[in-house]
Subunit: 149 residues, 2 copies
DNA sequence: TTTAATGGTTTCATTACGCAACCAAAGGAG
DNA sequence: CTCCTTTGGTTGCGTAATGAAACCATTAAA
C-alpha cells in the first residue's frame, strides 16, 4: 500500500506536513535559507542522493515553495530559490532549531548561533504569545473547530 | 539501503527532525496536545496502523518526549502523555499550523482556531524576534558556527 | 576533439509503511 | 469455572519510498 498522506485531514498542521514533512524536505529548505541555490550545492551539503533531491526539489517547485530559475544562457545552469511562501517557513525552522538547541545539545552548546546583526545578539526564544504579548499557558487555550458550510 | 538518518549532522534542525521528523510523529504529538492519551484514541483519531503507532510511541518514549503511564490496576491500561520535553514542542506545532492557516487555507479559512481563553482571541502570529522585541528581517541575520573544541 | 561540469534519469537492492490477521492478559457475564 | 470483550499490542505479507551507483544529454572549456 502507498504511504498514507494527510490530504484529507482538515488540519493546518497535517496539511503543512503533507507539503514539507517528507524526509529531507525541511533540510533542503534550511540550506536554501543558508544560501544554497544550485542542485550540486544542495547535493554536497546534504549528502542526499541525486534522485531524491531531484524529486524533492520538483515537489517544492510544484507546491510553490521554491522556484527554479534559469541562470545560464541556454539552460544548463539553474538556481533554486525560496518564494515568499517558502521564506515564510522561517518560523518553523526557527522553532525546530530552538527546540534542538535546548533539548538535544543543551543551552549554550548548540553547534550554531543565529545572530541579529543589528544587536549582535541571538534571536529571542520563539513562544506563542497571547493578545497581550505575553506567553500563553497551554491550559489557557481552547480549540475551536469551524463548522463546515 | 536503510533510510539515512541525520544523527551525524551538527545542526539542531537536523537533530530535531531525527527525533520527530518521521511520518506521523508530529501528528501523534499534536493529538497528545489535543487531549489524546490512550493507544486506541491515537489510533482512531489518526487512522494510523497499529504497528506504526506502536513503533512511534515507543520511539517517543525512548526519546523522553512522551511517557507511558500504567493507569490500570495490573497493566492492561496505559496512558501516553507528553513530558516537559514534549510539551516544549508546542511552538513547533504552532508555527506549522500558522503556516498552513495562511498558505494552505488562507487567512480566516482555517478549519480550527486556537483561542486564548483569557482574551477570547486567537494566538498572535509567531515570528522570530530580535533583542528589541521586533520581528527580524532575514537579511539582518548572521549564522555563526561554533568551532568544535 | 576530447574532457569536464551541470543537472539530472535509470536500475536495482533494501527498508519503511499499510493492512489485516492473530494474540495474550485482564475483567466481566453467565 | 468458562466464555466473551476490551486493550494494547505483534506478525506476515505486499507495495511504495529511499539510497547508491551507473549512466546520460547538453553546453562549455581545453
Amino acid at each position: 500500500m502507498a504511504r498514507k498522506r494527510f490530504n484529507d485531514m482538515p488540519c493546518s498542521i497535517a496539511q503543512t506536513l503533507n507539503l514539507v514533512g517528507d524526509w529531507w524536505t525541511l533540510l533542503i529548505i534550511r540550506d536554501a535559507f543558508f544560501g544554497a541555490r544550485r542542485f550540486a550545492e544542495f547535493e554536497s551539503r546534504l549528502g542526499i542522493a541525486k534522485n531524491i533531491l531531484a524529486n524533492r526539489l520538483s515537489q517544492l517547485v510544484d507546491n510553490g515553495i521554491m522556484q527554479k530559475v534559469d541562470i545560464g544562457q541556454t539552460g544548463t545552469h539553474y538556481a533554486y530559490e525560496l518564494t515568499e511562501k517558502g521564506r515564510d517557513l522561517f518560523p518553523v525552522l526557527t522553532a525546530l532549531r530552538q527546540w534542538g538547541d535546548k533539548w538535544v545539545y543543551g543551552e549554550g552548546c548548540a553547534p550554531m548561533d543565529i545572530i541579529e546583526r543589528k544587536s549582535g545578539r541571538p534571536l529571542a526564544r520563539m513562544l506563542p504569545l497571547g493578545a497581550d504579548g505575553e506567553p500563553v499557558a497551554l491550559g489557557d487555550l481552547e480549540i475551536r473547530l469551524k463548522e463546515k458550510s
